[in-house]
Structures are given as structure tokens and as C-alpha cells.
Assembly symmetry: C2
Homo-oligomer: 309 residues x 2
């Protein structure tokens, strides 16, 4: 039961020879969600063997080039490969204008239906199916490029049947769904078997949140409280805190403060400025505040396992 | 005296793990000309160590995504690096509309002046300095994406002084420019020294032509007659000649026919369909018609040497 994040690019505005700009794929039980889509994302998808023809949902945090310029190429390639059905795109409404204008001039007809969902800039539910939900929430970035965070959360699952016990109590098949939902079982002779004798608790729902690009705001912790995995931008280290402020970015320390405040399970740092050839310094600064911190490299895969019960 | 082509991408519409889409840099005596600019061109420039901050002139053949989608990222990166001066962009006039619209919505202010030159779709001079000229000429591609070829040609150079001879005849410095231009020298006592005694011929001007994307048209040979190096698209092999026709592309054989007809020095094939994991087959088909044919790989460098006199 996968819940797995692949980092396609952990660089920022200017890509480097080792870091592409922002893009990630979250695989939740074989649903593949693309989060941001910098230039060359289609190449990174191929490089890291992500089955990108299975991507149905694309989430764009904001309209800076290093978060969306790969969209044109990816959408075009999917069309050249004669992709059918729907692709859902969640982004600033102005992205639709850009796509319509460019595809119009290029006389581009897509082979599939591109369904555009404009982000409202309020906390909102973007997507829901039987297994998970995706929400967005407002971040604070440059005034002309309002940014959104995204929260992916599994739904509560049904309890797990203990095969040995339901066999021993001869529970009929027809009752199983009720048992999974937590009901007790009553035998023919009226004896009540407590549900906890027949089932194990369901694993806790897993969750992932993406916060990039944004300044640090203590109150944003509420959006991502208790998530298992948090990706937070950490464009700069302490030495360039003034630049972080000027450019509406966060430092590694601020990312760690947010993670601590929100009591998340694990923190991932990314969106590193090209000033940092390696990310050790940023990791050191964050770890001092929130110990379960990791830095991203392009191609890194982070698994979110079920918590041990 | 460099005249050197670096292939940044020799793939076609869909990039592969080994072939990026179309882009090249021609270095003529340390002037760097970018020809087409597919997605990820800025990454390829970095990968192949091209000093892309020195690029002042960008030529876009036509408005299909695999020839221009990297422009936004490259122009943006150059601006983030605080590039000054002018960058000249030569392309279909509709590209200016796309750039203006997108940069407008993104509130993007470039650090340099982007000078746009709309291609006229006639044979025309695009650029000229003391050493070379760049011309464009019309190709035949899909009706909604008219394509242009580009021809880079060195100017005639002055004859080379034979130091030993001008010393022997005691030619004054003031006369040297006239001697280089081919004039004879008259000594104080009226003796005429023939110019060919004092100089060697200048090396013949070198030339490079780029033809992509286009169908085969015999008459296009006139545009590139006698060039030293011709790059011609060869999207398909003979087996997919019907697809070449349908999609307004050329086969490897047609590229070779054009090279032969135009009596060029060397032919480079590129813009290979992703159907061809390797290009041997395409090379074989072309070589049977025009023997001095080579296939491109990303990163290949082709030098155009002076002809031996």
C-alpha cells in the first residue's frame, strides 16, 4: 500500500547541474499526483522511471517559472502519445489564460480533456476519492504570484479482520463489512463477541504536505498539523536570512520551526538556492531545531510507512 | 579561428532519455548563436559547458514546442543572473505575442533588453557584422507553423601578408592594408611587385546552414548551395516515408538528396523520431546517396575547418 514521494527537482529559480527546479510525484496506492512542474519535468519523470502516462492530477503551487514552465512540454508530449480521458490541473486561474493563449496561437489540439480548476486562495478541498483527499491552503509569497500549499491525506480505513477469530466464531460473510466498521457480533445463541476480539485497528491514515514557496508564518502550522511528512522550502540558510525576507522565501531554520510547531513526523527540505552546491549547512541549521529533518536530492524517494500500532 | 557547432538536442517532438529536442549553438570566432531552444536547453548548455551568458542572438525556426519551449526558462535565468545589454531574438512574430502575454501575466521584468526581429518568410539578411552574415530562408512545414532555415556565412577575408617578402621588399607599414586587399606594390625606383608575391590567398569563408523542420523540396538546394556544413532534419527513415509526408518532415534519404543537389561539404542528420533508439539505419540510408553524412548525438561538436589552399 504505497504512499511514496519522488523528488524530481529540489532546486529553485535557477536549475544547476545537479538540481532541477521544482517538481515532485506523490504515489498514493498507485494514484500518481504531480506537484509543480518546472522546465524539464518530463525528462526527470523519464529519468526516474515514473509512469507519467498515469498522471491524472497536476497541482501548481504558483506562477513562477521554476514551478510551471515544464507544463507545456509535458501536456504536449502526453497529447503526442495520444493520451485519452481527463487530466485535471489545479492552479492560479491566470495559468489557464496563458495555456489558452499559447495553445491557441500554436493551434494545439490536445488528445485528452484538460480540466482546469482555479485555486480559490482559501483552504479548500480540491480532490476526493474513496481513499484520499487533497486540500489546498494559502501560503505567503510575492504579491504577484500568490502561492498555495497542498495536503494529501488518506481517509480513515476500515478495521482489519482477524481471520482466525472470525473463523472460530463462524461469522457469516454477509456480516464482514459491519465487523470491519467496528460492530460487535452476536452469535445465534445470543452471545455478544466484542469487535476488538474480531478485528485489529486500521492503520492510521497517512499524510503529506507541500509548502513552497512561502515566507515563514507561525500560523501556517495549523494547516499541516501532525502530518507524517512535510516538504517545506528552505531556499536559504541563516546567513542569507535577509535575502529570504526580501524574496519571500524561508530559511532552513524557519522550515524547522514550522515543522516543530506543527508537530509533523518528518521534515524534508528543498527548493535550495543555487548558492548552495551542497545542502549540508542547511540540514545542520534545521536539525538543531527539528531533529527528524532530511534534505532532498533529485531522484530521492521518501516512503511514508504505516505507523506501528 | 573557431567555426564550431555544438548539438544540444537532436531529438524531435518527444525527447528521449538520450536525445533532447532541438537546440544548437554555433560558435563563430567566439560569437555564440543559439539556434532553436527546446525545453531544457538551459540545462544542456550547462551540461556541455557552453558559456551561455555570451549568447546574444537566438534564432527560432518555427513555433512547434520542441523548438522554442526552453526560451522562457533561458530568458528568465539570464535575467535572474542580471544579464545586461541586448539579446536579439529572431522568430515568427507570434512568438512575441506569446512572450509578451506570459511575461505580462507573470509581471516579469527582464534585466536586459530583448530585441525581437520578426521573420519575414522571405530570403533575408538577419544579421551582419564585420566577420559574418546570417540569413534566413523559407522552408515548408505545417501550414500553422511556417518554418525558416538559417545560413551563417563568414565574409571574404583579406589576403594574408607574407612577412618574409614584405620585409625583403621593404614595404612600408602604411601600405599593408592595400597589399592585403590585393594591390601590387611599386618600389621607389618604379618596380612593380605583383601582389601574389607578397601575399597568400585568404582562407575561403566558411558556412553553416540549418534546415529543420521541413519537407523535401528540390529547389531548397539553392538556398544552401555549396555550404561547408548542412544540418538537415531526418525525422524518419524510408520505412516511414508516408509519416514524413503526413507530418511535413523529411526522410534521411531526402536530406541526403538535398545535400547532394546543393553540393554541400558535409551533411549532419538530426531531429530523429523517438521511434529510432539509434540512428544507424538513418545514416545507412543517407550515406548511400551522399557519402559525407554524419548523424548527431546530443553534445556532439562539429568543427568547420578552413579549406586547404
Amino acid at each position: 500500500m504505497k504512499f511514496e514521494l519522488t523528488v524530481l527537482g529540489c532546486g529553485s529559480a535557477v536549475p544547476t547541474s545537479v538540481r532541477n527546479s521544482a517538481a515532485q510525484v506523490l504515489n498514493v496506492l498507485e494514484r500518481h499526483f504531480l506537484i509543480d512542474c518546472a522546465e524539464a519535468t518530463q525528462l526527470q519523470l523519464r529519468r526516474f522511471h515514473i509512469p507519467y502516462t498515469k498522471i491524472n492530477h497536476i497541482f501548481i503551487s504558483h506562477l513562477h517559472g521554476d514551478h510551471f514552465l515544464g507544463l507545456f512540454g509535458l501536456l504536449s508530449t502526453l497529447s503526442l502519445q495520444n493520451r485519452k480521458g481527463e487530466i485535471h490541473l489545479y492552479a492560479d486561474e491566470r495559468l489557464k489564460k496563458i495555456l489558452d493563449f499559447q495553445f491557441g496561437i500554436m493551434n494545439m489540439k490536445l488528445s485528452y480533456t484538460l480540466v482546469f480548476h482555479a485555486l480559490s486562495r482559501k483552504q479548500e478541498l480540491l480532490y476526493e476519492d474513496d481513499l484520499l483527499t487533497v486540500e489546498s491552503f494559502p501560503l505567503k509569497h510575492r504579491y504577484d504570484a500568490p502561492a498555495s500549499g497542498f495536503l494529501f491525506r488518506e481517509k480513515e480505513r476500515l478495521r482489519t479482520i482477524r481471520r482466525d477469530m472470525v473463523d472460530a466464531w463462524e461469522v457469516p460473510i454477509a456480516f464482514m463489512q459491519n465487523i470491519k466498521r467496528g460492530e460487535d457480533f452476536v452469535t445465534k445463541d445470543g452471545r455478544v463477541v466484542a469487535n476488538r476480539q474480531l478485528t485489529l485497528p486500521a492503520p492510521a491514515p497517512r499524510s503529506y504536505a507541500y509548502m513552497s514557496d512561502t515566507v515563514y508564518r507561525e500560523e501556517f502550522a495549523e494547516y499541516v498539523r501532525g502530518v507524517d511528512l512535510l516538504y517545506h522550502e528552505a531556499t536559504y540558510g541563516r546567513g542569507f536570512a535577509h535575502l529570504a525576507k526580501e524574496t519571500f522565501h524561508s530559511t532552513a531554520e524557519q522550515a524547522a520551526m514550522l515543522a516543530k510547531k506543527a508537530d509533523v513526523g518528518k521534515l524534508l527540505l528543498g527548493h535550495f538556492s543555487s548558492r548552495y552546491p551542497t545542502s549540508e549547512l542547511l540540514l545542520d541549521e534545521a536539525i538543531a531545531i527539528f531533529s527528524n529533518t532530511f534534505v532532498c536530492h533529485d531522484g530521492d524517494v521518501f516512503d511514508v510507512p504505516y505507523k506501528k500500532i
